[in-house]
């Protein structure tokens, strides 16, 4: 038996979580370094996965399969395709930055609580989330995936509710109330989605008799496993509902601004850049593969919802007064693009969507983390409290600008490539949808540039006059992310090469071919 690389990649952060949690109360700093060490070790393993994975080879590679709960037809089955590898890479890449950025977020003096070892808990929870997210990208057993999909809510919930942003107008008590409200809203939305999915998971078992993604997909493709049209549609809806809550898609998105607003900036990155990706990833992997016919049936409605997300998210972002909520609404708009790309059912659309997941992760992380540094300096999340920061802290302002430009998909930065692919992919099949979606880009320019203008330019406000520039730790966080944004903007080939074969497989599952380039069709 070969080395269980996939299990190890998830096990390392899980072990890290336990080790970190066990560090004695007085050795706080040791806990931080341990957490960073384990997250870097995970990154190394993720890179090994990337190296070992052959993009042109078998669809699922590095597979592992062990008996688990035979009574439920459940096996511990892992395997990655190109999309999985890319997202594991993203997760493993971002977590060290999240940990570094949140270095002081859970210090007892910072959180103001006399709680039991908050620092250890904070970093242990982050690593626990990482372990579950990575394993969910690897799971090829529907039940295993479901378990992780639900279980990761619990550490996330404690991260949001237990370590909120103190930079808040009003009293500590009010902040605590809003924070627990956000945490509960996050959990209830996602749990409700998950439980609806549970009904569909059980239904799938009744229909298929096991949970193996590969077996079910193969049986579906060969026609061995027939599903009645209505059954398939209901099951699809059950799965899709859960993923749409997580992704989040309008109108199931309302938990995201609360959660991202109240959580600390690193946790907000964890939510939107890492955990939410499980939702869009699962649409690609489970919805399209298991229920191809129903996916095609639902496409028009989903595209409309995605369009609404794009435009509505962007419009609300324009109107936000709170920096973090602005980024949250921008993310909703971006998730609309991702979902549109997935359901356009073209190779450009889906490659673009996968690339979008990566790029959105990196760009949001860059923007949000710099915003977090900014907020921690001033102690306020309101845009109106800032002004002229670029004169006081030019490096901070510069990195903030790059993050903003990435968010509006400036050519030359990574998100441009993916947004362009998604739009092209959508346009070839659904021209009208593609055209409407481009308005989202225009609005993105509006909200990011207005944000930059109001906070960074203009006369220097008294409160920000003594604001220090980025520290070394903060630079270490931001610089690599910006480098990556530029690198992938100029040379996205490594990721696209990884992703394209997997997208081809998915498209063949739904038996869709790219529309032929016809001049007439575009008229």
């Amino acid at each position: 038996m070969s080395f269980p690389l996939l299990t190890a990649t998830a096990a390392v952060p899980a072990i890290g979580a336990i080790v970190t949690a066990a560090v004695p109360a007085a050795r706080r700093t040791a806990a931080k370094w341990l957490a960073l060490f384990f997250s870097l070790a995970t990154l190394v393993l993720a890179i090994v996965i990337g190296v070992r994975f052959a993009p042109g080879g078998e669809r699922y590679q590095l597979t592992e399969s062990h008996a688990w709960i035979a009574d439920f037809g459940v096996r511990y089955e892992l395997g990655v395709d190109g999309i999985g590898v890319a997202l594991i890479g993203l997760t493993a890449l971002l977590i060290p930055f999240v940990i570094l950025a949140g270095w002081h977020d859970a210090d007892p003096e910072e959180t103001g609580s006399k709680r039991w070892r908050p620092t250890q808990g904070f970093f242990a929870l982050i690593l626990m989330v990482e372990a579950m997210v990575i394993l969910s990208f690897e799971a090829t057993d529907v039940f295993l995936f479901y378990i992780l999909f639900e279980a990761m809510l619990i550490p996330m919930y404690f991260l949001i509710g237990g370590f909120g942003d103190r930079a808040h107008a009003g009293s500590d008590e009010k902040a605590a109330t809003q924070r627990s409200y956000a945490a509960v809203k996050f959990l209830l939305y996602n749990l409700a989605g998950g439980l609806i999915m549970l009904a569909a998971v059980i239904g799938l078992y009744v229909v298929a008799g096991n949970f193996s993604l590969q077996e079910i997909a193969a049986a579906r493709a060969s026609g061995e496993l027939e599903m009645a049209t209505n059954t398939e549609r209901l099951l699809f809806l059950g799965f899709f509902f859960a993923f749409a809550v997580k992704a989040p898609l309008w109108p199931l998105h309302t938990w995201l601004p609360n959660a991202m607003g109240e959580a600390t900036a690193p946790v907000a990155v964890l939510i939107t850049a890492v955990v939410d990706k499980v939702g869009t990833f699962a649409m690609l992997r489970f919805c399209l593969q298991l229920f191809p016919e129903a996916s095609k049936w639902a496409t028009p409605v989903i595209l409309v919802l995605a369009l609404i997300s794009i435009v509505y998210g962007a419009l609300l972002a324009v109107g936000q007064r709170d920096i973090k909520r602005l980024v949250a609404y921008a993310s909703i708009s971006h998730f609309g693009f991702i979902i549109m790309g997935i359901f356009a059912m073209t190779s450009q659309g889906q490659s673009g969507a996968t690339l979008y997941m990566i790029n959105h992760g990196i760009s949001t992380a860059a923007l949000m983390l710099v915003a977090g540094f900014l907020i921690s300096r001033r102690g306020s999340r309101l845009i109106a409290d800032y002004g002229g920061v670029q004169k006081v802290a030019p490096v901070l302002a510069g990195t903030f600008l790059v993050g903003s430009l990435a968010t509006l998909s400036l050519p030359g930065l990574a998100p441009f490539v993916s947004e362009f692919l998604v739009l092209v992919g959508t346009f070839t099949r659904y021209p009208v949808v593609g055209i409407i979606a481009t308005f989202g880009i225009v609005l993105a320019a509006l909200y990011t540039l207005v944000l930059y203008q109001r906070t960074m330019t203009g006369p220097v406000k008294v409160e920000v006059a003594r604001m220090p520039d980025l520290r070394v730790r903060e630079l270490v966080v931001v610089a690599p992310l910006i480098a990556l944004l530029i690198f992938l903007g100029v040379y996205p080939k490594p990721v696209t090469e990884l992703v394209n074969p997997a997208v081809g497989h998915t498209l063949s599952d739904v038996q869709k071919k790219d529309p032929k380039p016809e001049v007439e069709a575009a008229k």
Binding site: I69, A176, L198, Y205
Partner: protein, 548 residues
């Protein structure tokens, strides 16, 4: 007229028939016999052992009896009585088969763990230099009277709780194994009466405790009457009280009609009304809507260790009896009972989950949560497939340990007035006592059915069985109720971890190893059944065949 002449007016001398002594398979009844025997010994201990030593002797007798009975259950199961050797013993009164042994094992283990919480003496502050437990010093004294004060001062303790618990456990062991309706009824009374008493024995808030006992007793008596009436009607219909005999008549395979019952036998009206009344009696015990009214009051008023015991073990026993009744006696009638049980399951799940949201007392909250769980288990019962049986068995095993553990945690959180059960007092518990709060959070997550806990495995098992049994709609309602229920479990977690502690908040008492064991077992079972449930699913699967 002579006395014999008068007598002869209405009697005739019947030829004396030879009465055969019944054959009793003592070996196969060993678990029950040990427990009941130990209970009798316990009464002797009350009478003859000195007051100081009583507690220790009773503890010893009870624990040894429960362990020995559990060993006997294991022995019977190892001897194949759960599968190939399953048979009906004691002249057709008791079935020794897979479900019976599985449930007896579960009841004995939960009983053992619950007895540990009964015996806990470190939580309450010492009264006049004596360590005291959760039970009143002298049950017969009027609350607040001089007699009570004198009893407390003298250091009296109600060690009767141990034999009472043993009697209750003895009845519970018979209840799911009963193979005729009269045995069922007697078992019901044997375990109910001690429970009524136990409910009345709280050391603090005695009036509330007594009120709960009275309510439980009155409603329980009412439901027993229904059950008995149902038995009478079914007897009228079938001419027998034995499960197999009734089932045969229901199936229409028996045609020899008892001349005394010629008018009524085979009358479906009797069967339907009688069957409905039997179900009412059992649904009362499982706490299903609309027979749930007693649950919150009794759970709140009873001493918390008793509540935990009752919530766990009664449910196991009652669901066992319900399963046997529906699967052995009335399978021929399933087209009649399934729609009714559908309705009961739906309202039970929804009402339990919805009403729990408004609760402000942790014990009442757990009571409504237990109602919702009864609904989930009913979904498995309704499946009417072998998977239905095994999933219900598994669920009961998983649920009972979580319940005992959760109530054991409730006993730890105290303020000057005893246990601080009002939810507002639990605010900030996670900051004050992170370990206790974390353990309770694990139990709550299990109740909510979050993956990697036993609650999820159980819920998945019953919902899967229900879906396979054609009750897909029930599963959808089940997951919706789970989502509603999740709200209040999470509310408690929020309260514990994300609220600021109140300055006058409760303290967490450090328990003795007894309660720690109860809680530790609860956590261990919760996690093991959550992560690696296969062995226990196998066990429940093998145990899932009734003998008839």
């Amino acid at each position: 007229m002579s006395a014999s002449a008068v007598h002869s007016l209405w009697t005739t001398a019947a030829p004396i028939e030879k009465i055969d002594a019944p054959t009793i398979e003592y070996a196969q009844l060993l678990p029950t016999l040990i427990v009941i025997g130990a209970a009798v010994v316990g009464i002797g201990v009350e009478a003859f052992v000195g007051r100081k030593a009583r507690y220790y002797v009773q503890m010893f007798v009870t624990v040894v009896a429960l362990v020995a009975a559990f060993a006997a259950v294991i022995g019977l199961a190892a001897g194949g009585h759960a599968s190939t050797e399953a048979q009906i013993v004691a002249m057709g009164a008791i079935a020794v088969d897979g479900p019976a042994l599985f449930l007896q094992g579960t009841i004995l283990l939960t009983g053992l763990v619950a007895v540990f919480t009964f015996a806990e003496r470190r939580l309450d502050p010492q009264a006049h230099g004596n360590q005291v437990d959760s039970f009143t010093a002298q049950a017969a004294s009027v609350p607040g009277s001089d007699g009570e004060k004198a009893a407390i001062k003298a250091g009296f303790t109600t060690t009767e709780v141990f034999p009472l618990a043993l009697f209750a456990i003895g009845g519970m062991l018979v209840f799911p194994a009963a193979n005729d309706l009269l045995t069922l009824f007697i078992a019901l009374e044997v375990f109910s009466l001690p429970l009524y008493l136990l409910c009345a024995l709280a050391r603090r808030k005695r009036l509330m405790s007594q009120e709960s006992a009275v309510k439980y007793f009155l409603l329980g008596a009412f439901s027993s009457a229904f059950l008995l009436f149902g038995i009478a009607l079914v007897y009228g219909y079938a001419g027998t009280v034995s499960y197999a005999g009734i089932a045969d008549v229901v199936d229409g395979t028996v045609q020899n009609i008892d001349p005394a019952l010629a008018d009524t036998m085979g009358n479906d009206a009797l069967l339907l009304v009688g069957g409905a009344m039997l179900l009412m009696g059992l649904l009362f015990k499982v706490g299903a809507v609309p027979f749930h009214m007693w649950t919150p009051d009794v759970y709140q008023g009873a001493p918390t260790p008793v509540t935990g015991f009752m919530a766990a073990a009664t449910k196991v026993a009652a669901f066992g009896a319900l399963l046997r009744l529906l699967y052995v006696v009335l399978p021929g009638l399933r087209w009649d009972w399934r729609p009714v049980m559908w309705g009961v399951a739906i309202v039970t799940m929804l009402l339990g989950a919805i009403v729990a949201i408004t609760q402000t007392d942790i014990k009442r909250l757990l009571a409504y949560s237990s109602i919702a769980h009864a609904g989930f288990i009913l979904a498995g019962v309704i499946a009417a497939t072998p998977d239905g049986i095994s999933s219900v068995l598994f669920y009961l095993g998983a649920y009972s340990f979580v319940t005992v553990g959760a109530f054991a945690v409730v006993t730890l959180v105290r303020d000057a007035g005893g246990e601080a059960t009002h939810l507002s007092k639990w605010a900030g518990l996670g900051r004050r006592s992170p370990l206790v709060a974390a353990v309770f959070a694990v139990f709550l997550l299990a109740f909510a059915g979050i993956p990697l806990t036993s609650g999820f495995s159980g819920k998945f098992a019953v919902f899967k069985a229900a879906a396979e049994g054609g009750a897909g709609a029930l599963v959808v309602i089940g997951v919706i109720s789970s989502a509603i229920a999740a709200f209040f479990y999470i509310r408690v977690i929020v309260l514990m971890f994300f609220s600021e502690p109140k300055p006058e908040g409760p303290t967490v008492a450090v328990p003795s190893p007894l309660t720690m064991t109860a809680i530790g077992v609860g956590v261990a079972v919760t996690l093991v059944l959550g992560v690696a449930p296969q062995y226990f699913l196998d066990l429940a699967g093998q145990a899932g065949v009734f003998v008839r």
